[in-house]
Amino acid sequence: MTLTVAVHTQSPSPAQPAAAAPPGDAERGKALFVKNGCYQCHNYEGHGGAAGARIAPNPLPFRAFVAYVRAPRGDMPPYTATVMAEQDLADVYAYLRSRPRPADVSRIPLLAR
């Protein structure tokens, strides 16, 4: 473990039109998120960590999300349609979007400067 911790988070994306993503089942998506090991790098809430970017609650637009999952540019393992079908990804996407936004950081005393 080094003192340099590269946590590459996605920039907060502008409001994404819900119509851009196909309907998804967030509960099923939660189960798939665990079953398919997404949590291993992105943690159970998709909030990111030492090994993976924060991808919730505002993931990339759905088509970009799918494209990245199928053919990641970095070290992330690729998910083929054999492993996760398009609907599976839609369900995971719905789960990620369902994650709560954090409280105002200024209201968390332990995170005060």
């Binding site: 473990m1 340099t4 949590y39 943690n43 393992p77 950081v105 332990l110």
Partner: protein
């Protein structure tokens, strides 16, 4: 009768045999077979009447002199499981030496003994000693020695062995004897010897210490022949201990230092990268002075605590390498990895992170000493200027050279650069706080919440983080004292964390500091007995567990293979998870004598549990809080 004669008598007495002459004729196989294997401490041996005038005791032994030498060297502690091959010096340490400087620390695994020495040396700046069998003990200790080798840390290992085959007790002593005990670890120790006399021991003991303490530092091994330990010494025997002078570490060539200064002053975007740079408490101040003189950004890679985490010039969280036109690397083992990025996909690939024309300067004692077999030296890095020297020893003269070289015009450029870097580092801290707020109330507990709760309990104490970071400690905590972090294992050999933390806590104990350990679960399971060592020796240590119930780094590797082969990911956890049953680390720790709480899954319970554990630790005892965490 000398000891050789005594041993021969004793074993034969056990067989009710006729005493053998001191100078024995070669025995036939049949004769050897006639003397059954009888342990020297058998009931028969105990009750048999010794021959008249047989001398069975002595007031002084070779191992007493060995202890005199260890005291002269200044070893404060010896970590060891007991072992018959070093029973002589064990007894000399506790009786002849009074069990003070060195004091024997009872360990439950030789890997723990060495790793304790690893952690101790990084705090105290000098090694402690380790005793182990030359065979089974060293086999246990080997991985920890390798970690210390990779991390350039001195550990002083002493191995018991019985070289003279004719004196070995039948049975286990044969299994515990070896022709060349140190051979197994010679590829990853800096020096070893097998002294054949006590004067030889004295010279080699001091030589080993000098070599271990000269950068690049590394473990050394001395093999203590059992005969040498247990031989009686007459009271009139005078043995000398040579003078010990630790060599001054090698400083960079003065002309090369002047050239480094010229390049640094001329650079527009210099970045200083430090890894195992800080050997002593003075190192941080030297690096701060260099960085502030130049107003240059510093990346501390985490091999040691080189630079304050909240310093405005700490750019460890930024992508400063890509912008640099000059990189100064201080004791960076993997410099290639700093200036390149590597992609681990089906076809492995890499690309430079630096822009064309960026100059790279290296100052490292690693260029002075290298071995071939083990590959911890990393990929060959292209540099423009290399100083084969100790970086910490070189920095004061480099700071002076930079101050002499910098003109008023350049200093104005420096000030402007520093102001921009300060803005960037302030923004990086705000980003870290924001990112930490995500999943704040999640269960399992987020690693950011874990670190924030821990920081809340220790920030007003004189604390030191002795193991682990959970990724968030350097982003959220203010490390500004040189002893507040000691880096990691070096060789990535799992099982380092818990014993190194106990060893470091042993060193912090005399300074009254609160030693804090962020303990991963998989690491603790290698040799949890070291918690008992902490309890037994009243070593105050706060362990807070980052318990993700898996060997998680490996789990991700296996998943990568699952994805690569498109055979499904859901079975990827087989072989890496620590579930079914969950391990109750609080109960494990309680059984080993610690105050312990957990498993904690509600983040609201973490802070109060840590507060109770801190109170225990401040009373001088170890404590553990098991927190079930998010994976990373």
């Amino acid at each position: 009768m000398n000891r050789r004669g005594f041993l021969k008598h004793a074993s034969l007495a056990g067989a009710a045999a006729i005493a053998t002459p001191a100078v024995a004729e070669p025995q036939s196989p049949a004769a050897r077979g006639a003397a059954p294997a009888t342990p020297i401490m058998s009931a028969a041996a105990e009750t048999a009447t010794p021959p008249e005038a047989e001398i069975l005791t002595t007031d002084r032994t070779g191992s007493d002199f060995m202890v005199d030498v260890l005291k002269a060297i200044g070893l404060d502690y010896i970590c060891a499981n007991p072992g018959s091959s070093f029973r002589g010096i064990h007894e000399s340490v506790i009786n002849y030496g009074g069990n003070e400087r060195p004091e024997l620390i009872t360990c439950c695994h030789e890997e723990s003994s060495v790793a304790m020495g690893h952690g101790y040396a990084k705090v105290e700046g000098k090694p402690l000693g380790v005793f182990a069998h030359g065979t089974v003990g060293l086999q246990h200790a080997a991985m920890a020695i390798y970690n210390a080798w990779c991390d350039r840390v001195p550990v002083y290992v002493m191995l018991g062995n019985q070289l003279d085959a004719t004196l070995r007790r039948p049975g286990a002593e044969w299994a515990h004897s070896v022709q060349d005990a140190a051979a197994m670890v010679r590829d990853f120790t800096k020096w070893d010897d097998t002294p054949m006399s006590l004067p030889h021991f004295a010279e080699s003991a001091l030589r080993a210490y000098k070599i271990a303490m000269t950068p690049p530092m590394a473990p050394v091994v001395l093999v203590l022949n059992a005969e040498l330990q247990e031989q009686p010494l007459g009271t009139d025997v005078r043995l000398a201990i040579p003078k010990l002078a630790i060599p001054a570490p090698p400083e960079g060539d003065s002309r090369a230092v002047a050239e480094v200064a010229r390049l640094l002053v001329a650079a527009e975007h210099p970045v200083i990268v430090a890894d195992r740079y800080a050997r002593t408490p003075a190192a941080m101040a030297h690096l701060v002075e260099l960085a502030e003189t130049l107003q240059a950004g510093v990346i501390s890679l985490g091999g040691r605590l080189n630079f304050p985490t909240r310093h405005p010039l700490n750019v460890s969280q930024a992508r400063a390498i890509a912008d640099a036109d000059l990189i100064l690397a201080l004791e960076v083992n993997d410099l290639w990895g700093v200036v390149n990025t590597f992609r681990d996909q089906l076809h492995r690939s890499s690309r430079p992170l630096t822009r064309p024309g960026t100059k790279v300067i290296s100052i490292t004692s690693g260029d002075l000493y290298l071995k071939a077999n083990y590959q911890d030296f990393q990929r060959f890095a292209e540099v423009d200027l290399a100083l084969a020297a100790d970086a910490e020893a070189t920095l004061p003269s480099l700071v002076d050279a930079v101050k002499r070289t910098a003109t008023a015009d350049r200093r104005r450029v420096f000030e402007s650069r520093g102001a921009k870097l300060a803005e960037a580092t302030s923004a990086a801290l705000d980003r870290a706080r924001l990112e930490a707020s995500y999943a704040w109330d999640a269960s399992p507990v987020s690693t950011a919440r874990l670190c924030a709760e821990l920081w809340g309990q220790i920030r007003n104490e004189d604390w030191a983080l002795v193991n682990g970071t959970a990724g968030w400690a350097p982003r959220l905590w203010s490390f500004d004292k040189p002893y507040q972090f000691i880096g990691g294992s070096g060789g990535a050999g799992v099982g380092y964390g818990a014993p190194a933390a106990v060893g470091a806590a042993l060193a912090h104990k005399r300074h009254g500091r609160l030693a804090v350990n962020i303990q991963t679960d998989g690491d603790l399971m290698y040799a949890p007995g070291v918690l008992w060592t902490a309890a037994h020796h009243r070593i105050p240590l706060l362990s807070v567990m980052h318990n993700n119930r898996a060997y998680h780094q490996e789990l991700m590797h296996v998943q990568k293979m699952c994805n690569r082969h498109s055979r499904g990911v859901d079975r990827g956890r087989i072989g890496s998870e620590l579930v079914d049953p969950f391990i109750d680390y609080a109960k494990v720790a309680q059984g080993l004598g610690l105050h312990a709480e957990g498993p904690i899954t509600d983040p609201k319970d973490v802070g109060p549990a840590i507060a109770r554990a801190v109170a225990t630790v401040k009373r001088g005892e170890p404590a553990l809080v098991d927190v079930v965490c998010q994976p990373r």
